[in-house]
Symmetry: C3
Subunit: 161 residues, 3 copies
């Protein structure tokens, strides 16, 4: 279990963490994905309709590092998915909250999915609500909530967003 | 009628105004949309073909606060549109002009539309040409021109861009 | 043949060069496109599958200014393409390498294509890997590699990306 340091995180540092995070996914380096989170943590994918109704339903939910690693293993070992890659495009981040030892930002994004066949589609749009803390000197997600605009969730949702 | 202050507006301030503007629309808080403009103002949606030919045709045109509020009321009261939401993604802004009391920037954007059914589409792409002035200490749009790349304008254009 | 100056290039300067570059293409000012490169240079479009396999195959390859100008002339004189325009949206840039007289950055992007009929599509996604040097006081691309996510390359690829 990580010790959270009493140390401010700047908006620029939070943004850099997000940029690295999406590049890691887009590059297919999924084994590095859990390292962006603290332990314990909250990684949750939901929809804006669920959020608006304050439903606690999640499309995906992990609350510690072991679950994140299980998720990666499942993706890499299961061969039920046609290989595909993502490309995230980020719009500007806005600071929602700044504390002595955490920062919360929100960021609109879209994600394009490319199948191995070459077929491409706009796969997802929405916003990230990210709370970061400092662990061992580095920024980590204590909580990352992915709020998708569409409630029509593709059954191919395998790679984390 | 607003008094425009003799006060410079920085590119960062103009950008922040734009980021807040698109979040307001994407969050569905349309009642706050007119507040981004000065009074009088110019809000115009046109196409790049019209612009290239210097046609004065507009897809939407409002030149004062009352018209902006009328627009919001029409959207909220009319039930002719299937409910939908937008997600704007902004590319970098460029400064086109800086004066003693105004700044003009341009910004490429895309907008994804999500219907209540969950269906999503790339709804619009284009660029904003925004002139900002300062009123009561805060940045406001004196003029916001939305130049769409496509002249095939969806008849569902209801929510402002 | 250009003389490369021993002068650092900042990430901000590299980013500004990229923003101007994509605006030049999106505005249709193709005659200005070669001016973004040094001479000699490398402009290459490839796919992530080719890159992953270290294949040297290119979809487009130019290694000097004359070839870039030939490319522009071919596009402007040939009437085999239905007129269309691009809209690039850039995500954040990351610095890959900084030297005494060059910088290399990578940037995720998407590009929307609009036909004269008004039809729009998500045309390309991928990342730029750009090496910049200084020539006559200004930043120029010594190398610009466009790595497309999809290997299904549209035969309409005419305008540079």
């Amino acid at each position: 279990m990580d010790t959270i340091e009493r140390s401010r995180i700047t908006p620029a540092e939070a943004r850099e963490h997000l940029v690295d995070y999406v590049h890691t996914i887009d590059d297919g380096a999924l084994q590095d994905w859990p390292g962006y989170f603290s332990d314990p943590c909250l990684y949750r994918i939901t929809t804006r309709q669920n959020e608006a109704r304050r439903y606690k339903l999640s499309i995906m939910l992990c609350d510690n590092q072991a679950m994140l690693f299980d998720r990666v293993e499942a993706i890499e070992q299961a061969n039920v998915f046609e290989p595909h890659t993502y490309r995230h495009i980020l719009s500007d981040s806005r600071v929602l909250n700044r504390g002595q030892s955490s920062i919360t930002i929100e960021t609109s994004f879209i994600c394009v999915r490319t199948m191995i066949s070459g077929a491409q589609m706009l796969f997802a749009s929405g916003r990230y609500v990210d709370e970061l803390v400092r662990v061992d000197g580095a920024a980590r997600y204590r909580s990352k909530i992915v709020i998708l605009d569409s409630s029509e969730v593709d059954t191919l949702l395998a790679i984390p967003l």
